[in-house]
Symmetry: C2
């Protein structure tokens, strides 16, 4: 197979890239972005080789312990459990949260063979047993599997006398009631709070 066809095929490992866009990417890089292409190849090779999981939080990291876990300025009493590194990044960018994270790298899904072990819950168990964490903020997605995972984590936390908490559900800011799904609306209605 010609090198260019190999390149087009190789580009398809990227999510959302089909044959047409892989072709467009290959031609674009060869025509106009040789330097950037070389850099992408180098960084990608390095990343795939060197990036492993942080031994404390399971986030991606080049070092044994990631920068957040290693930071002395974060509040070690707060631990926030998320499903993925992307969720960790979203919280980090949107909120002023200064505690630590635990990245599950998935959610409980027995049918797919994803149990407590795959989510590193033995590691979380040991972490909570250390006694430093006072609150476990459970920020799994509000899906069926995310909720099941949240309940499991809450039990785990209680067993170690750690307070479990869950992100608030409700009508999104700037959203219109008319377009909010029934489940969310019903939940928001039921958990309404008195106005000050």
């Amino acid at each position: 197979m010609a090198l260019i066809d190999q390149l087009i095929e190789a580009l398809r490992v990227l999510p959302g890239v089909g044959p047409k866009s892989a072709q467009r990417m290959a031609y674009h890089v060869l025509e106009r972005e040789r330097v950037g292409g070389k850099r992408l190849a180098d960084v990608l090779a390095q990343a795939v080789e060197q990036i492993r999981h942080c031994a404390r939080c399971r986030d991606f990291s080049e070092t044994e312990i990631c920068a957040i876990c290693a930071s002395a300025s974060r509040d070690a009493h707060l631990l926030c459990a998320v499903e993925s590194p992307a969720d960790r990044l979203a919280i980090e960018q949107a909120t002023g949260y200064r505690g630590l994270y635990f990245i599950l790298q998935g959610r409980l899904s027995p049918l797919d063979g994803i149990g407590p072990k795959e989510l590193g819950l033995d590691l979380l168990d040991a972490r909570l047993a250390e006694g430093e964490v006072q609150e476990l903020i459970i920020a799994t997605n509000p899906t069926v599997e995310g909720e099941a995972t949240a309940h499991y984590l809450a039990q785990l936390a209680r067993r170690h006398r750690v307070r479990p908490s869950r992100l608030a559900h409700g009508v999104p800011l700037g959203g219109e009631l008319e377009y909010v799904d029934r489940g969310t609306l019903s939940h928001a209605f039921g958990t309404r709070s008195e106005m000050p």
Copy 2:
């Protein structure tokens, strides 16, 4: 900068990839496609290094002369001029054309500093002077610049007593008249042909 952030930034050389999708791609590759990611890095490095332009047709090629130009089974009397390798591929896949190609790698655009030299027209001139080509099929895009390029190429062909031809313009098959743009419709109306 952390390696993962470098990777996210490097991915943005790909066309149509913004910060959000670059992030999604990086996480996806690290989470699920390490082997494919390694392969992409290798092939991309090789491609950027080794793929050059064919000395005869200017298409991308790892070899001095590309596979199509080197093929003995193609009809050397027919030469089809296209703007890009992607156009060449589209014609190759859609039609039964068995002649050769010439890839301009652009179109005449004096304001952007793209003149006959940038399109390799000296190479095309020498090629037509060889006397083997009988028809130059001009398949530049039907844009203002593509048309200007087509006229220039037609003059060049006539100077060498080579017959220039142009792809037919008209209503696309399966299209609806109502939605065809005015220029195309007017052209198709003017160049209507008698039904057999």
